[in-house]
Symmetry: C2
Subunit: 183 residues, 2 copies
């Protein structure tokens, strides 16, 4: 089920460094040694920054995890937390697929509280198997991180490939169904 | 020093409700009894939300408190945390004054890490005398909330009036000076 091809591709995912329990800037760290990463100093581009960061300009995005949790609880919706990095090609590819998929955008708009982060939170439940990007975690309205809603890779359970948008879609449907049955 | 006029005006500041230690949505609560507030349901306006929220579109804004702390520490700059609410007239007036003042914008751009929040964090140090808006807290690069940098009102130490932009300016200068002397 987890072929070599997929696994080696997954090894290329960017890793979010975890500096003790201190807040961690998600610097893009290339896992391919010997190739020094170009410096990722923030470019002072003076275009207004958006909360969507390209994941769906028409969607309503929470700014902070605290806000997102509050909204999930009070609206009885699932929260989707998308961890990504601006200059990570895997993140960018997934973002493009996410933003261009009408089904995802519609479901995200109607049924989910949305948060995208380029910075780790202090909640360790959001990184059950590491602080890599891109990764998507679902949190139910009782504010439990649903580590049981996963992608298809055993070594990066919350990673998704842009070529496989069916999987986030079916996980979003799964979350919606859980609202009616379990919660 | 604290005349009646100022004090009664300050009493009209919006209060951020504190729901135990749970994350708190900063709902606009009118303190004038008998006048029921119109409902503040989020309007699904489909303009992309910006991180600046009107406090300076050309400035670089941190998204989360964790990110802002990290950036303050790593850049050895002071962090300014601005708490406000979208539909609070005092917040809007201060925002306008802040965004239109070239001196403030220049100093903010060059010398500060910036964060504006419409949602409380879990860090109680950011609300030394309550969760009202608008209020501005300074955090130094050692990540100490500088409760000693205050406005002019004894009962709302971190509130600022839009008519008095000289005060945030002098506090920003004070913070810059502290970098050279104390820190």
């Amino acid at each position: 089920m987890f072929g070599n091809g997929s696994e080696s591709r997954l090894r290329d995912l960017e890793i979010m460094p975890g500096l003790l329990s201190a807040p961690v800037l998600l610097a893009a760290v290339s896992s391919s040694l010997g190739k020094p990463e170009t410096r990722t100093a923030p470019k002072p581009e003076r275009v207004p920054q958006t909360l969507s960061r390209g994941w769906g300009d028409e969607l309503i995005w929470a700014q902070t995890y605290e806000e997102a949790l509050y909204r999930a609880k009070s609206s009885t919706k699932f929260l989707m937390v998308i961890f990504h990095l601006e200059n990570c090609p895997h993140s960018s590819a997934l973002k493009k697929a996410f933003a261009e998929n009408k089904k995802i955008q519609k479901m995200a708009d109607e049924d989910f509280i949305l948060l995208n982060l380029v910075f780790e939170t202090t909640d360790k439940h959001l990184s059950p198997d590491g602080q890599y990007v891109p990764r998507i975690l679902f949190v139910d309205p009782s504010l439990t991180v649903r580590a049981d809603i996963t992608g298809r890779y055993a070594d990066r359970l919350y990673a998704y490939e842009p070529s496989d948008v069916g999987l986030p879609i079916s996980n979003m449907k799964k979350a919606k169904k859980l609202l009616k049955t379990e919660l």
